[in-house]
């Protein structure tokens, strides 16, 4: 048929459009448009706020985001240092790193001690440092929707034990469409013999069931976990420091089998003079190290080509910089690393071999910058903290 004939105007459908199909169309809209659509009618409001719709929207976003950069941001946590309102700034994660918009943090948060543990599919996990005291503060926050959920911790540790570290990991379980947390507490019980005095307690949290459960029989070597976990291939991975031997390894938690295992880091000569960072590079677990020789900085990116196989470590990039010491701050999906010298922040594109000042104030660690994509998660929840 001639194409023009399809151009003619037809009248609007006189019957109501089937809700099942509406569900499919609206679930392909970006977050802001979906939220605006809650005002169309009561049935649209109920549809959009349903758990089923929110879950479908998350899946749709994951499917379409793979090739679409439009909703990728870097979250930049700015705490109350100059009397300004504490906020996160969402920055464009593709080209410019320019601020797109900012969202104030809810007021009664323990701001100065706040850390971003990680971000998956629209939710950001925040902890307060009082996590290390008896009480524990964990929040799951959807900054775009201004929804925050306080996660209460069931058990607090016994006072007689010396607490070595607490570490929280955060991930999205795409089989069960659930957001999960792991909390690892490591204790030293001085009353026990040398071999038994280190004890660990591991608990898992599910947002769907809103509850914690313990994992039994966890034997953890004498290690120290620092920094945020990196999620690759269904496993959370931390850099583990063995304080007795003064060596590093990777502690990996398989979220499906719920077991820990240790993995070797690549053979590298300067572990005693660098801070190793785990990052995700093109879907693979990777190690970023910056070695300072005094005159230059040598930046290396090692990639574990086959997850879990220590033999597959490969030094993918080896770059020499003539600048001061470099801290890694973050790694974006476009294989761009964000790094800091002592006073400025830069991005370095490994593929284009280009470095660029992004005009950000100095950040010393990865806790203040995370990658973020929009989602509707927590839309069906009440806000648990008052906004400013």
């Amino acid at each position: 048929m001639p194409r023009n004939s399809r151009k003619r105007k037809t009248k609007a459908p006189d019957k109501h459009f089937p809700e099942g199909i509406l569900f499919d169309i609206v679930s392909r809209l970006p977050v802001k448009s979906v939220v605006r659509c809650t005002t169309v009618s009561k049935s649209w409001y109920a549809l959009i706020k349903s758990r089923d719709f929110i879950a479908t929207h998350v899946k749709q976003s994951i499917a379409s985001n793979i090739n679409d950069d439009s909703s990728h941001y870097i979250l930049d946590l700015l705490l109350d240092e100059h009397g300004d309102k504490p906020c996160v700034v969402l920055r464009d994660n593709v080209v410019s790193f320019d601020p797109v918009y900012s969202v104030d943090l809810p007021m009664d948060f323990e701001l100065r001690k706040c850390k971003m543990v990680g971000s998956c599919n629209g939710l950001v996990c925040l902890t307060g440092t009082s996590c290390f005291a008896d009480g524990c503060l964990i929040y799951l926050w959807n900054p775009l929707l201004r929804r925050i959920k306080r996660i209460s911790c069931t058990s607090s540790c016994c006072n007689r034990l010396y607490r070595k570290f607490t570490n929280v990991g955060f991930w999205y379980d795409n089989e069960k469409n659930d957001y999960k947390l792991i909390m690892i507490r490591h204790y030293i019980n001085k009353g026990l013999p040398q071999n038994d005095k280190e004890q660990s307690q591991v608990e898992l949290y599910s947002l769907y069931t809103a509850s914690w459960r313990k994992i039994d029989d966890v034997k953890m070597p004498g290690i120290l976990l620092d920094g945020a976990a990196v999620f690759v291939d269904g496993s959370l991975n931390w850099i583990a420091y063995h304080s007795l031997e003064r060596t590093y390894s990777i502690l990996s938690f398989d979220t499906r089998l719920e077991v820990f295992r240790e993995m070797k880091l690549p053979n590298y000569d300067h572990y005693n003079s660098v801070i190793p960072y785990l990052v995700v590079y093109k879907g693979c677990l990777a190690l970023f190290v910056a070695h300072c020789t005094g005159e230059e900085d040598v930046l290396s990116l090692w990639v574990m080509k086959e997850f879990g196989l220590a033999e597959s470590w490969l030094e993918e990039y080896h770059v020499v910089f003539e600048v001061d010491c470099i801290f890694s701050v973050g790694f974006t999906k476009n294989s761009v690393i964000i790094y800091a010298t002592y006073d400025e922040m830069f991005v370095y594109d490994f593929e284009k071999k280009q470095s660029r000042d992004i005009g950000l104030g100095f950040r010393c660690d990865a806790d203040s910058l995370v990658e973020y994509t929009e989602s509707l998660v927590l839309l069906d929840e009440k806000n648990e903290l008052q906004e400013n």
């Binding site: 399809r6 151009k7 037809t10 459009f17 499919d24 809209l29 605006r36 809650t38 169309v40 409001y45």
Partner: protein, 163 residues
Amino acid sequence: MSSSTELTEKKVFLLKSLDGVIFEVEESVAVQLEVIRELIEGDCARPFISLYNVTSEILALVIEYCKHHAETCSGGTSATIADEDLKTFDNEFMNVDENILLELCSAADYLDIKSLFELTCRTLASLIKDRTIIEVRKMFNVENDFSVVEEKAVRKEFAWAFK
């Protein structure tokens, strides 16, 4: 004998639209409609199939779409060229009045043509994206059943989205 082998090679189906128009389609095109493929696989497909929910205007478009996709996929061209060709065709195919789009979407759902359903859903979503709420209501023929106070409350709940 030769005519019977020709018949099995070129099996055709007659599809009847809601308004009684009959379309003749080859099996390679008909199987793109999941509802018909299931009938064929279950050995329940009769040569004459009535489609009660689709008008002839929409069915003609659906067949045009399936025909192009069937031909492109079975042709000798490489996968990347075929992909490009389908993309161009799909873009052009979606360049229709939005009420036709709505009907196409609903037909793709009824006839269970996954790629066309995805395509129409995505196109409709991109149309809605920047529209005002009044325009969205008009498009889907939805009546605003909120009272003034209720609507204000919902807008307040999501004030940031209306900035």
